[in-house]
């Protein structure tokens, strides 16, 4: 290494913060929506999913970046898949061991992290051409940017759909019609279409704020 770079230089910091705004994997790059939305009915699984994806994206980028000079180009996809799948199995076993309830809720979607386009996307676009440490940061940043969208969607879906956050009641029981009040949960929020529409609205807001992202 010819030039010495501080561990958290401005460049590395930007790699981490960029995915939260102008380089967000979901709203801007359109990656990784696949397994994202199905776990956003409640906040807790969404956060666990976001963390799992962050861990897998970060470490798979790191490992692939370490191996980048030794992987033959023709078989790189399969090598990447194997690395990612091994990491996902680790995450799955950990979830089953420590947060069994959440792992039950996530069901097949943990396995689907393997085919999440974010991971392959970051490996192909970044890790194959960069040093391990920046790749790790880039992976974590993108995973976290992805998790952020999941959490936002889950926040609204749980608040409006069930009147609670993290399973703790926010809208008081006495407000509900059944208890003589005026409030009713929005039943649509817990159904799949709400996630799509909410995501559309998030993109709308994001692009209105950040004009550079408008599509022609």
């Amino acid at each position: 290494m010819s030039e010495k770079e501080p561990l958290f230089s401005a460049k590395n910091l930007k790699l981490f913060t960029d995915p939260f705004n102008a380089g967000n994997p979901i709203t801007v790059l359109v990656l990784g929506i696949c397994s994202a939305l199905a776990v956003t009915v409640k906040l807790q699984p969404a956060i666990v999913m976001g963390l799992s994806v962050t861990v897998v994206t970060g470490f798979s980028s790191f490992i692939i970046s370490l191996l980048r000079n030794t992987i033959p180009n023709r078989i790189r996809i399969i090598v990447q898949l194997v690395v990612v799948a091994a990491l996902v199995i680790l995450v799955d076993q950990l979830l089953k061991a420590y947060v069994y309830e959440v792992s039950k809720q996530l069901s097949v979607f943990v396995g689907l992290i393997i085919t999440n386009c974010i991971i392959m996307g970051r490996i192909e676009a970044f890790a194959l051409g960069n040093k391990p440490f920046p790749s790790l940061i880039d992976g974590f940043g993108n995973g976290a940017g992805y998790g952020m969208i999941l959490v936002i969607v889950a926040f609204f879906r749980e608040l409006l759909g069930s009147g609670s956050l993290f399973g703790i009641r926010i809208v008081p029981e006495s407000f509900y019609v059944s208890a003589g009040g005026f409030y009713e949960n929005n039943g649509m929020m817990v159904l799949p279409p709400a996630a799509l529409i909410l995501l559309g609205v998030i993109i709308w807001v994001h692009r209105s704020v950040n004009n550079k992202l408008l599509e022609k």
Binding site: V30, G32, V108, T115, L196, V201, R207, S208, L214
Partner: protein
């Protein structure tokens, strides 16, 4: 027979890969600008699902499940290789897609010209992996059931992508707010389509 038709109908309309589980959204959004390409990708997905789901079913049943290895000898009865299923499934899918690509290229060049570019994309399509994982989770009782599930979810996926492609083709003439243009409006329209598909829930076919 009734059972197979029900599994098929349910996986096309009720448990639609895109509208109920959001699987395969990446290619769904990327390749849904024109009806003809959407159709090509849809057919390729059906094709791959019809092969990978039954193959993975057999692998799961005779190699990975708890007690699956008992045909091998009594002492292997307690082995549970379930934790390997992710890596095995994805390897099988990648392998089948690769082989399929070669076969199609060799024997039907015309079909290859249409599907060829899509096949490599499919190896990392979440819908394909998702179908195998759902097949494992729902514990179908026979290969035929697993196949009809594979066929059904492929058909449902194709229906969705062709539908959205048709809407997007028409939408290029309408005035969408600039910030919603492209991605945003596509999500909202997909959400509306998903609401429409929800009216199918509860369908069950009875043959007397």
């Amino acid at each position: 027979m009734e059972n197979f038709i029900n599994i098929f109908v349910q996986s096309v309309f009720i448990n639609n890969m895109i509208f109920a589980y959001f699987l395969g959204m990446c290619s769904f959004l990327a390749v849904s600008r024109k009806v003809s390409t959407a159709m090509g990708l849809g057919i390729a997905v059906i094709f791959v699902l019809m092969i990978t789901v039954p193959v993975n079913y057999l692998i799961n049943k005779y190699l990975l499940q708890e007690g699956a290895l008992s045909w091998f000898g009594d002492e292997y009865r307690d082995i549970d290789l379930g934790f390997l299923s992710f890596i095995v499934f994805i390897a099988v899918i990648a392998w089948i897609v690769q082989v399929l690509e070669m076969i199609v290229e060799k024997f039907t060049p015309a079909l290859y010209n249409q599907l060829g570019i899509f096949l490599p994309l499919i190896a990392v399509n979440c819908a394909v992996m998702g179908a195998s994982l759902f097949m494992q989770e729902r514990e179908y009782s026979s290969v035929a059931e697993a196949s009809s599930f594979g066929l059904g979810s492929g058909t449902g996926w194709m229906l969705a992508i062709v539908g959205i492609a048709a809407i997007r083709e028409k939408m290029s003439y309408s005035k969408v707010p600039p910030a919603l243009k492209g991605l945003g409006i596509t999500f909202i329209v997909t959400g509306l389509m998903a609401i429409a598909f929800m009216s199918f829930s509860g369908i069950e076919i009875k043959i007397d």
